[in-house]
């Protein structure tokens, strides 16, 4: 491992209102789910220590308010992000369609050095619900078209895939840090993950 990697990773969660950004973060960090219907003000953040490739890193997960307000938070908020998590609600097609603008918004505001290869992860949340409206294939297609963004289908309520998704997020964020280094086995792992993703789907169909 390269020594210059920092041990603090900044991860930003974006997506429309009420897709479950706060719930995902809470499920991952606190292993809790609340049925409360509650809009987030401004921004929250939580930290969690994770072990990635035998290394302890602190993940700093920034949850944003889906409301328009958040556009005013702007640059200061996005700056220095190591990974961006785009969340949509599989029962709300609009939240999926809006992923494009969330991604653009992030790239404009954060202006990362290498926008083409900046690590994004897409999460289709609320797969525990019956009235699913965005198919897995559609989502995967979109992700492939955007330079193979890893895609997971999650349920913050049931805790489905949440741990796995955030593991990938941590790895990719760390990889972003290591970009300048000799490429090691990380890229392979992305492919591995997107394959992992497929066996995950039958789980959803059970619901």
């Amino acid at each position: 491992m390269a020594s210059r990697k920092k041990s603090l990773l900044k991860v930003i969660i974006l997506g429309d209102s009420s897709v479950g950004k706060t719930s995902l973060m809470n499920q991952y960090v606190n292993k809790r789910f609340s049925n409360q219907y509650k809009a987030t003000i401004g921004a929250d953040f939580c930290t969690k220590e994770v072990v990635v490739n035998d290394r302890v890193v602190t993940m700093q997960i920034w949850d944003t308010a889906g409301q328009e307000r958040f556009q005013s938070l702007g640059v200061a908020f996005y700056r220095g992000a190591d990974c961006c998590v785009l969340v949509y609600d599989v029962t709300a097609p609009n939240s999926f369609k809006n992923l494009d603008s969330w991604r653009d918004e992030f790239l404009i505001q954060a202006s990362p050095r290498d926008p083409e290869h900046f690590p994004f992860v897409v999460l289709g949340n609320k797969v525990d619900l019956d009235n699913r409206q965005v198919s897995t294939r559609r989502a995967q297609q979109w992700c492939q078209s955007k330079n193979d963004i890893p895609y997971y289908e999650t349920s913050a309520k049931e805790g489905i895939n949440v741990e796995l998704a955030f593991q990938t997020i941590a790895k990719n964020a760390l990889e972003q840090e290591a970009e300048a280094d000799v490429v090691n086995d990380f890229p392979d792992q992305i492919i591995l993950n997107s394959q992992n993703n497929r066996p995950g789907n039958p789980d959803n169909c059970q619901c």
Binding site: K38, A39, I41, D44, F45, E68, R69, L73, A76
Partner: protein, 574 residues
């Protein structure tokens, strides 16, 4: 009168003040003092007189005859002023004297204050004394403020403006232990916290964590404990909401037993007449809480209003409505009325109404189409709207609000609305009402229509899950646009989140108050009626003070720069 470089005589003032209630009179007095001071400053600048030793002694004479020279002895004053005239730096010395002589000023002097003082004092000795502020002026006052009153002009006036300015700065910085609002609320907050340990308040927890984490990350532990307390105070959104609702409602009615009259029942002339007394009442409340009443100058940016619906001022929209419909408008834009009616009809029971975003492309299409066709086909808007989901319509509503050339609460007042967060909850309610009554007619009616719409949605929260908290959170940025209400340091996320939380809390109160905001206390109405004559006189003062402060932006800016408070110009208003 000020135009002739004259100050207001106390004798002239007294008969006017006698007819007013004590707090009002006090507010006026203070402002007249400032006015006189500014006038004096100006005459000086005009005459550009060199320091004259005789002036120094004249000052000295005055001060020794003053019956109210409670603090500084003539000797000490004399020496200071002489020192100053000759340009030596005995200022810190002076400050010490000033403080030792006590008054009840317990605030720590800051460096900026000293500078401020220096500037003022240096000017003073050469001031030609046109009309001695006779000590009488303070006799009638009930001395509720802890402003040191010295009979020598320079000291006395400097004392006032100094405290005024510093209060603003420190209050805003959120670390002022003397801030009358913060401390007790903080205490209450802690109590509430301990009672509600079980509450699942994750987002607030996180924000609090944010504060702590921030300290860890930045490793610059500059924050003092009070600061933490204050930030925790304002950010713990729900606790404060819980805290401020309830018991105060009762309190609101019992002591005053005021009768109210709905503002729609008043004619425009009556409302106009009320304005000055409302300003006065507002000034009193702000003074009581030691918050300076900053009135922004009306916006003068001449931006061409290009759109048809979006980015067009309320008044322009209403003018247009009237042209097209040929009827008198109720001063709520037709477009907004249609939109609110449609959302209410189709969406009030929809889960997450207002919160859930529509499809952005569709919203964009709707936006463009409305821009071009609304005034052509406004009669069959219903069918047009029916092509879109309620979420797109609600997105449009928020967008329309955000794109207003002036915020709905107006450039002039929005900052005052924001400042209300420093007031105690009872005063805050009063101040909100007063501010709403100061809004221009179309803004007031539009705001009222919106509040009604919002409370209707909250009323149906069992179906749509949009409780007060959610609605306030979503709509707050539209009432307090980030371009108008934002921290000085735009890069401080902590500050931004804090302000966002405050705005949400204020919106919370505004929605809860709802119709009560538009009830004018009858006593104010009678006061304004029975004292038409005096009102005219007071209006005259008001005009003077306002014009004065406008014309003296140079001076006020100077003052502000010195005290390094804020980046906007301080206006005093009666």
């Amino acid at each position: 009168m000020y135009k002739q470089g004259l100050e207001l005589h106390t004798t002239e003032l007294e008969p006017v003040l006698k007819t007013l209630s004590k707090p009002h009179a006090e507010a006026i007095r203070k402002r007249v003092i400032i006015l006189n001071h500014t006038v004096r400053g100006r005459t000086k600048i005009r005459s550009k007189r060199k320091p004259d030793i005789r002036d120094v002694f004249r000052d000295f004479d005055e001060s020794s005859t003053g019956t109210r020279s409670r603090s500084a002895t003539p000797d000490s004053l004399d020496s200071i002023q002489v020192d100053d005239v000759w340009g030596t730096s005995s200022i810190p010395n002076f400050v010490r004297i000033f403080e030792e002589n006590g008054e009840s000023n317990t605030k720590a002097t800051q460096h900026s204050q000293k500078k401020h003082l220096k500037q003022k004092v240096r000017r003073t000795p050469s001031a030609p004394i046109k009309s001695g502020l006779s000590p009488d002026i303070f006799r009638g006052s009930n001395m509720r403020c802890d402003i040191p009153l010295h009979s020598t002009h320079g000291v006395e006036l400097v004392g006032y403006s100094r405290i005024g300015t510093i209060n603003l700065a420190r209050g805003r910085s959120g670390s002022d232990p003397a801030c009358s609002v913060g401390a007790p609320r903080g205490e209450r907050l802690r109590n509430v916290n301990s009672e509600n340990n079980t509450s699942d308040d994750s987002s607030d927890d996180c924000i609090n964590k944010l504060n702590k984490n921030y300290k860890q990350i930045s490793k610059s532990d500059n924050e003092c404990p009070e600061n933490l307390l204050m930030t925790g105070d304002v950010i713990s959104f729900e606790n404060i909401c819980r805290d401020t609702c309830g018991p105060d409602e009762v309190e609101d009615l019992s002591p005053s037993q005021k009768q109210y009259l709905d503002i729609v029942l008043l004619s425009e002339i009556e409302i106009k007449r009320l304005q000055s007394i409302i300003w006065l009442e507002l000034a009193t409340i702000f003074d009581r809480n030691k918050i300076s009443l900053d009135r922004r100058k009306p916006y003068k940016r001449r931006r061409k209003e290009e759109g048809n619906l979006f980015g067009v001022s309320l008044s322009a929209l209403i003018r247009r409505d009237q042209q097209i419909t040929g009827t008198d408008s109720n001063l709520v834009p037709l477009f907004l009325e249609n939109l609110l009616a449609e959302i209410t009809l189709r969406g009030s029971t929809e889960e997450g109404i207002l919160r859930i975003a529509g499809n952005r492309q569709k919203t964009e299409a709707l936006y463009n189409e409305l821009e071009s066709i609304f005034y052509l086909k406004f009669e069959n808007m219903d069918t047009f709207f029916s092509n879109y989901t309620v979420h797109e319509l609600s997105a449009l509503l928020k967008r329309w609000l955000r794109e207003l050339p002036q915020p709905l609460l107006t450039n002039e007042l929005v900052q005052l609305f924001y400042q209300c967060h420093k007031l105690s909850s009872l005063d805050q309610k009063k101040a909100f009402s007063l501010l709403c009554q100061l809004l221009p007619h179309e803004n007031r009616n539009t705001f009222r229509a919106l509040l009604r719409f919002l409370s209707n949605i909250i009323h149906l929260q069992n179906e749509n899950k949009m409780n007060l908290h959610n609605v306030a959170t979503i709509i707050a940025p539209s009432f307090f646009p980030p371009q108008n209400v934002h921290p000085i340091d735009k890069n401080s996320i902590e500050e931004q989140v804090k302000m966002a939380a405050i705005c949400c809390r204020l919106t919370n109160v505004l929605i809860t108050r709802g119709e009560k905001l538009f009830q004018v206390p009858k006593n104010l109405i009678t006061e304004s009626k029975s004292k038409k004559k005096i009102m005219r006189k007071k209006k005259f003062f008001q005009l003077e003070v306002m014009e004065n402060s406008n014309e003296n932006t140079a001076i006020s800016t100077l003052i502000n720069e010195e005290s390094k408070t804020k980046n906007h110009v301080h206006h005093t208003v009666v």
